[in-house]
Symmetry: C2
Subunit: 347 residues, 2 copies
DNA sequence: TTGGCAACCTGTAACGTTTCAGTATATTGA
DNA sequence: TCAATATACTGAAACGTTACAGGTTGCCAA
């Protein structure tokens, strides 16, 4: 079955989508000349160039992606690789929009490549590399020793990671300064008189787990507060688990009077746990939490929040991959975003 | 610049990605035969077919997308078109995962095509159709008279809408039964003694605005309760606006004792507004809200919720587009999902 | 024996693009 | 004046795939 409705020939009539051949016919030039004229090649006369570009614009010529891709191998695709189970909800939408903003006026398309719990996180990456499905890749949940980053470096495909790695290899990344966040959180709690602090960590194994834990520990000793260990949960646990274990913790005699939480969803559970234990937020205990949308202050006005902007992260990551694809030194495409101040309830 | 690192020739050695030519060389057959053997064409001998398929699997042959696309026009791409400003956060992530689940074991890729406030919603659709960038499209925020659906029908590109249209034209859709939701909500409120009800509607202009309003009105007269008009906001308004106007409403003498909310984010604002007015949820007023993740019960235990499953919506929409692409009658690819019961706080 | 036919396989062309290796014309240098 | 050279353009080939229009072989009926 031939997909064409009518035979086109060289006549350039009809409603078919224009190709280089159409342009060549209309301008009376060769296909090669047209192709080069459109990309401002120097060996094409200035007038010819303008003429071709004018006609191209007039008839709305758009290069055929399949043609380009087949010939050059360039896909004009950026792939965002996401974990279907563990990714934070607002992260997904914000980062997509952030990426979109940046690639909107480029020829790039964004494809979303998900993988699930059951799979090796390397699987989708291998697929992308082996099939050459993308010119660049964005991954999240970076690990200190990240096999995905290593694999992509080995195979020479440009990528950017959300979060840093610690492999001594330079690659683009964007990260939120979680060391600073945890530190600020501790200092703020200390400032309002809290001395016994607990931390609800990021998932063990991700790089920013370490950053957060270190920021927390360093600030603790700086302000002379003490830590109440709370290693039984991380923000990757379910709402129910976090809630239950927080309640357990808060019923103990040596319970904390301040908690630092690395994610908004976990914070909802933490607060529920606190209240399950019959305690009151703001009186018996204060909680500082990261959030990426303005919801926590509506939830409990007593919550102390620090904002992390995922849309910004998306934009930065997109800029970074595009930069690398465009030939910029990967080591220079790294950015770290500083946390906002700890914000108390605004009336 | 030629992208190939080494000249391949016909020798099938090296680390290049295998093509039909490679397979042809290895099996000693012609390229055409290999191509047909892989798609189980009847004019290929049974043994040859098995042999080719075996070799193909062994060396991990994967058809080149650009080749197929160029030759056949088939992109193997589904595009999800999203509004960057107005889309509900959890909607984006859940629907993406829902779609992904379905296309995971197909050759399809998912591309996300966003558009913003400033643009005509038809723009991205036109782009997709004109450039032939996708085999199928999923759109959200369906309107009774939806120019996007009309355009795609006219241009013969398969699509599915999240929400129904009312143009008398058959096309695939998935929708949540918001008429039933609003009705159930009203009946539940009546059952617990609420008589003066207000509705926070979906965005005016979307089809499900009408469904919701009608379900609300019909149930009101069924149970003999009265409506407190609250037309100054919809769930597309900002948190601040909803909060402020809810507070205003709740300070009036004729304030409602029951509110039905069409979205979780709006509900947070509504509750804040209620409390701003010095009233207490569950005592002075009850609120029934739709939600798509389990957060509202953590927020205020007194909230009454109905769950809407966006991941399911994503799966259904994907199945629908794929069905249409596969030749199924579009009119038969329609589904409506019934709301859960109104759930009070679970201990 | 021969013609016909089924079963199985093959080469060529085309999709739209870019690159390579030119060609034709005008311009320059001596 | 003639050759060398720069300028402006061109055709053919190739990327990997599929559709079309054959080609060979073997077998059977006449």
């Amino acid at each position: 079955m031939d997909r064409r409705v009518t035979k086109k020939g060289d006549d350039a009539s009809g409603k078919e989508r224009p190709t280089l051949k159409t342009l060549a016919f209309m301008t009376g030039l060769g296909v090669t000349t047209v192709s080069r004229a459109l990309k401002d090649a120097p060996e094409i006369g200035a007038e010819t160039r303008r003429r071709v570009q004018l006609v191209a614009k007039q008839i709305g010529y758009r290069p055929n992606r399949a043609g380009v891709r087949l010939r050059t191998g360039k896909t004009n695709v950026i792939s965002l690789v996401l974990n279907t189970e563990r990714e934070i909800m607002s992260f997904v939408s914000d980062i997509i929009y952030g990426v979109s903003e940046v690639i909107a006026d480029t020829p790039y398309h964004l494809i979303v490549t998900p993988y699930s719990r059951s799979q090796d996180p390397l699987d989708p990456i291998r697929y992308l590399v082996e099939t050459g499905s993308a010119d660049g890749v964005i991954i999240s949940r970076a690990q200190p020793n990240d096999p995905r980053a290593r694999y992509m470096l080995e195979h020479g495909i440009p990528f950017a990671t959300h979060g840093r790695t610690e492999m001594g290899l330079a690659h683009p990344f964007h990260d939120f300064d979680n060391y600073a966040f945890a530190g600020e959180a501790v200092r703020h709690l200390a400032r309002i008189g809290r001395r016994r602090l607990a931390l609800v960590t990021p998932p063990v194994g991700l790089t920013y787990y370490g950053h957060t834990v270190n920021g927390f520990a360093d600030a603790l000793s700086e302000v002379g507060a003490s830590e109440v260990p709370f290693n039984t949960v991380s923000i990757d646990h379910t709402i129910e688990q976090i809630r239950m274990r927080t309640a357990q913790l808060m019923r103990r005699d040596d319970r904390p009077d301040g908690i630092v939480s690395s994610a908004a969803a976990a914070t909802l559970a933490i607060v529920a746990g606190i209240e399950d234990a019959g305690l009151k937020l703001g009186r018996d205990v204060d909680v500082v939490s990261k959030q990426s949308s303005e919801l926590l202050h509506l939830f409990r006005r007593e919550l102390l929040v620090v904002n992390e902007d995922f849309r910004l992260a998306g934009s930065e990551l997109a800029r970074a991959v595009l930069g690398w694809i465009g030939g910029t030194e990967p080591g220079s495409l790294q950015s770290l975003s500083k946390p906002s101040e700890v914000l108390p309830y605004r009336v």
